[in-house]
């Protein structure tokens, strides 16, 4: 009962009752519309005899058409709340789900995605993305991606700094870049970033939009050398992948520090060591 939300008005979000992919994001009491959803690109099928007949595969990402949403909007999200963390559990379909969480006192919202096993019954390759979109955000087709945690590199849609790009026939993959730890947009006043916990392909194809590829299962080889389709299985079904995206949004002057510290904390996490106790002891005894 009541609104499905996490966090507070300083940083938090509330889910739209009628459409679970729509949110209102609160940042310093400001209300910002946000759309977050899972979609998949159909993988191009081809015999690799000509350039336009190349199949999407391990080496190349060649989507066949626009991405297709894969979430069932009728499935109701579930809210879990307590003194340490607030969570929204969302199940998209049988093989895609997500937990959105905000820990008390944290300056980011965490999206823990779980994708797979991607079904193989229709033999159509699927390349699944998580897409974040803030409507009306003006970043002038410019975004920033990191370079192995060093400097942030400026990327402009359909533009190359070292030569004239006459025609970009691969409008999606031609704008994809490796995202090793973060991708950012800025409208000069605010900075909107998604940090990831592993290298992924990603882009900002429209203003206000960030997409990251989280999983792919493909049934054709792209003939660039591997000689196998990217179709890994375990326990007789496709692989399952689970990971995190961290959303941060705030004023430009503060966010760079927020992101740098967050990236260190999430990529170089504490190590966990367990010691079993055979006989239960009190703290005083153990001390």
């Amino acid at each position: 009962q009541g609104p499905v939300d996490v966090g507070d008005r300083r940083l938090g979000l509330i889910i739209d009752d009628s459409d679970p992919k729509r949110f209102v994001l609160y940042v310093d009491n400001e209300e910002i519309p946000l759309i977050q959803e899972f979609l998949y690109y159909k993988s191009m099928v081809g015999d690799n005899s000509k350039d336009y007949k190349r199949a999407s595969g391990a080496y190349i990402f060649r989507p066949d058409g626009a991405p297709i949403p894969l979430c069932d909007s009728k499935k109701k999200p579930r809210r879990v709340s307590g003194p340490v963390v607030q969570e929204i559990h969302k199940e998209c379909n049988e093989w895609a789900s997500q937990v959105i969480r905000k820990y008390n006192g944290e300056d980011n919202i965490e999206f823990e995605w779980l994708i797979g096993p991607i079904p193989d019954n229709d033999k159509i390759g699927k390349e699944v993305i998580s897409r974040f979109h803030i409507p009306f955000y003006k970043n002038n087709q410019t975004f920033y991606t990191d370079s192995n945690g060093r400097e942030m590199l400026k990327r402009i849609v359909n533009y190359r700094p070292s030569f004239n790009l006459k025609e970009n026939v691969e409008n999606v993959s031609g704008n994809y870049y490796p995202i090793t730890s973060r991708i950012s947009l800025t409208d000069q006043h605010t900075r909107f970033s998604i940090l990831n916990d592993r290298s992924q392909g990603g882009s900002s194809l429209q203003d206000g939009e960030i997409e990251l590829m989280v999983h792919r299962r493909i049934f054709y080889d792209d003939a660039f050398g591997v000689g196998e389709a990217l179709n890994e299985t375990a326990f007789g079904v496709g692989l399952v992948a689970r990971g995190h995206h961290y959303l941060t949004l705030g004023s430009v002057d503060k966010q760079i520090a927020v992101e740098r510290l967050l990236a260190q904390r999430k990529l170089i996490r504490p190590q966990y060591f367990f010691t079993k106790k055979q006989n239960v002891v009190s703290y005083e005894e153990l001390k």
């Binding site: 391990a58 080496y59 879990v80 307590g82 003194p83 340490v84 963390v85 969570e87 559990h89 199940e91 789900s97 937990v99 820990y103 008390n104 006192g105 944290e106 779980l114 096993p117 290298s199 660039f224 050398g225 591997v226 000689g227 196998e228 990217l230 890994e232 375990a234 326990f235 007789g236 079904v237 399952v240 689970r242 260190q264 904390r265 170089i268 996490r269 504490p270 190590q271 966990y272 060591f273 367990f274 010691t275 079993k276 106790k277 239960v280 002891v281 703290y283 005083e284 153990l286 001390k287």
Partner: protein, 178 residues
């Protein structure tokens, strides 16, 4: 030194783009996983030894790790009435970590920090999709979540985690029903 070298060498092999981007044949992918798994295990031994030198005051033997925490599976937290969790912070500044440990059921747990303070804990049910992960062999349906504050730079903190004895749980539950 020889035990660390195995992971150094494996990381060298993993610099090849195949190990990152999935452009390797399946047998090679399996071999990469084998190499990494064996190398990490050797490094665990070294970590335990070093931590034993550092952690004077807590038990110096019997450390173990939970490499399957990424699928919310951990034999120690699921099956033991009591255990000590030691967190080592590899960064050069203090940090706060939110710890999530898979447990069998939502029941009373006490988490005590190094100063003997009882910490606030929360139980979060695992989403059904996690329980359905193929190959996951775990009795955990819930995660125990707590905040480990101010882990010292390049240092550690240990937390004593105790499940309330079942006899006490039954008594409390009967009382609450009454």
């Amino acid at each position: 030194e020889p035990k660390i070298t195995v992971l150094r060498e494996t990381m060298g092999v993993m610099q090849h783009h195949d190990a990152i981007s999935g452009t390797e044949k399946q047998h090679v992918a399996n071999d990469y996983a084998r190499l990494l798994s064996e190398a990490i295990e050797e490094c665990d031994d070294v970590s335990y030894t070093i931590l034993s030198y550092l952690a004077t005051g807590i038990e110096t033997s019997g450390y173990t790790t939970c490499h399957l925490l990424n699928i919310s599976q951990c034999e120690v937290s699921e099956n033991n009435e009591q255990f000590v969790l030691t967190l080592y912070n590899p960064l050069s500044r203090p940090i706060t970590e939110f710890v999530r440990l898979p447990i069998a059921a939502e029941t009373a747990y006490y988490v005590v920090d190094p100063w003997g303070q009882n910490l606030t804990v929360q139980f979060v049910p695992l989403p059904d999709a996690v329980l359905r992960i193929p190959g996951r062999e775990s009795s955990a349906t819930t995660e125990l979540v707590f905040q480990a504050e101010d882990l010292p730079p390049l240092g550690y903190k240990s937390y004593l985690i105790t499940k309330q004895p079942s006899s006490l749980r039954t008594k409390r539950s009967a009382e609450s029903e009454t």
